[in-house]
Amino acid sequence: MTGKPIIIEGNVWAITDADGNLYDSVDTDQIYHNQWLAVTDVAEMGKYAFGNLPGWEDFPSKAAPGDVIVTGANFGAGSSRQHAVDCFQALGIRLIIAASFGAIYRRNAINSGMPILTVLGVSAGDVATGENIKANLETGVVENLARGLTLTGEPWSDVQMDIYRAGDLFLYGRRGLQ
């Protein structure tokens, strides 16, 4: 229950488009295409992550466990498919930072214990692929260690922290009953 880190440090993948800007409104079909929806084994979902996002189709072979994703606004817009969160869990992605998250995506991440952080207005000017960042989930503060730059994200809610500490929504709910 106490093993979950509050401070996450990792190597960044800045999910940029052809113009070098962080992608906005990356939808659930771009994160995890519908042709793989019948897959039920989470471990198998990793290889399909970003499989339909132009320029990022080879992400699963590039990403390493412990890496951090940074992306633009409305990340995970669209469908309620949890595959779009699980595929990153499967790859060992430690944290997803976005300018904002799709409403259902945000809940899916929180409730399955995947750490996400909202940093309003985060842009490609703040952080680049390969840079190292340190994020504090409790305060929402993100430090770009390479540049000595600090970004202010939204601190986690108590429920988000409790679910994360418990492992997932079900473990959290069960703990509440004990």
Binding site: T28, N74, Q82, I104, N108
Partner: protein, 417 residues
């Protein structure tokens, strides 16, 4: 200062005063799942849960790939039927009954004042009947099955006031596309959106459903239409007449209020590859189209099929263009048989399919080839949504869809009505 709908229903459920941003634990009245029930059941088992706490609160509708397109989907359906039997789930609707977002209203689950969560993003549809309804994910659905409850954060509310009367050939789909184009795909992120004003009073319940259904496409948590005479009439016809409606206070305070006058609204389209890439149909008139999809949970109701039939009657679908029709439910299928709508559509060369999601999410029954262009009355045109990422999808109203099928090119329906 009074409260909007979301704060009213959250406060009622919590038994205390709830403000936006507050998190409460709720017991949903119903939890919807569809073909993804197989995956939810796997998660449920993996969590270590055995027995569904309230099997009577589960509503399971097979609609996403029905009848099964291949062995993998067939196996999932089989697992779901076994799960339904094991857990004693009484509200199970097998292949052929219809699309969940039409079946829940028809079967009386969606009513004013109810709290419904569903493992599908278009669960927002039931707000058209005055419910609070929102999409959730697989782990969330599994946890509700096990514990009967879940946390929800009370959203901020935005009110959209509609005035004016639609021009001929223009309707709710054009309005919601225009709104989404205006506010953007994340314009209403996490918000509770209330559709109000004089236009809503004359709009049919099917029209209300179009707006609520697509509110998720601007990021909204839920959409809501205050129950009115039309709602009451609709519910009475479904034997769903008993309910306790929750209305926003007359002096409710909203985060913002937006005004839309529909009087001069033209037919609208969403161009590839995002729902907020919206333009008047004039801008794309003449674009060659390989396939037209009429139906789905957005526009597969009687109003929609009859509107299309009026245009298709005594006309022919253009050569080289396929018109596929997906009624939202078996009931609607029968209605369209009786009303003559199917005769007109079939007579024009349209292909009438069974009630279900069809190719909307790329599963089967009309997925596209690379390089093809489709105009659809569905709610999403993401790159790759209907199969290959190398196809283009335009979204539009049933009238625009019918006119487009006749010409084989995107067409303005106003010349046909």
């Amino acid at each position: 200062m009074g409260k909007p709908f979301a704060e009213k229903i959250f406060s009622a459920r919590a038994g205390r005063d709830v403000v936006p941003g507050e998190i409460i634990t709720v017991e949903p009245d119903y939890v919807l799942s569809h073909d993804n029930t197989a995956a939810i059941a796997a998660t449920f088992a993996k969590m270590g849960a055995e027995k569904v706490l309230h099997p009577e609160r589960l509503v399971i509708v097979l609609d996403h790939c029905v009848p099964a397109a291949d062995a993998k989907h067939a196996e999932n359906h089989k697992k779901i039927r076994e799960f339904v039997a094991e857990q004693g789930v009484e509200h199970f609707y097998d292949v052929g009954r219809g699309i969940c977002h039409q079946v829940l209203p028809e079967e009386g689950f969606a009513r004013p004042g109810r709290l419904i969560l569903g493992s599908d993003s278009h669960t927002t549809t039931y707000g058209a009947l005055g419910a609070f309804s929102a999409g959730i994910g697989r782990s969330e659905a599994a946890a509700i099955w096990a514990t009967g409850e879940i946390w929800l954060m009370c959203p901020e509310s935005v009110r959209m006031n509609m005035t004016g009367e639609f021009a001929r050939g223009v309707g709710p789909k054009d309005l919601i596309l225009s709104i989404i184009g205006d506010v953007g795909a994340d314009g209403m992120l996490y918000k509770s959106v209330e559709f109000a004003g004089e236009t809503m009073e004359v709009m049919s319940v099917a029209g209300h459903m179009v707006l609520a259904n697509m509110s998720v496409e601007m990021g909204a948590k839920n959409g809501y239409v205050a129950p009115n005479d039309k709602t009451a009439e609709w519910l009475a016809s479904r034997e769903s007449a008993e309910y306790e409606a929750v209305y926003p206070d007359a002096d409710a305070s909203y985060e913002s209020e937006l005004e839309y006058d529909v009087t001069d609204l033209p037919p609208m389209v969403a161009k590839p590859h995002t729902v907020d890439n919206v333009a008047p149909v004039e801008e794309v008139v003449g674009t060659a189209v390989d396939q037209v999809v009429l139906g789905t949970c957005t526009n597969g109701r009687e109003d929609d099929l009859e509107e299309a039939a009026r245009i298709l009657e005594d006309r022919t679908v253009a050569s080289g263009c396929r018109l596929l029709v997906f009624p939202a439910s078996r009931e609607i299928w029968r209605e369209a048989m009786k009303s003559g709508a199917f005769e007109a559509i079939e007579g024009a060369g349209g292909i009438i399919m069974n009630a279900g999601c069809g190719p909307c999410l790329g599963a089967h029954e009309g997925v596209l080839a690379p390089g093809e262009v489709c105009l659809s009355t569905a709610n999403r045109n993401f790159k790759g949504r209907m199969g290959t990422p190398e196809a283009e999808i335009y979204l539009a109203s049933p009238a625009t869809a019918a006119a487009t099928a006749v010409e084989g090119r995107i067409a303005d329906p106003r010349g046909y009505l």
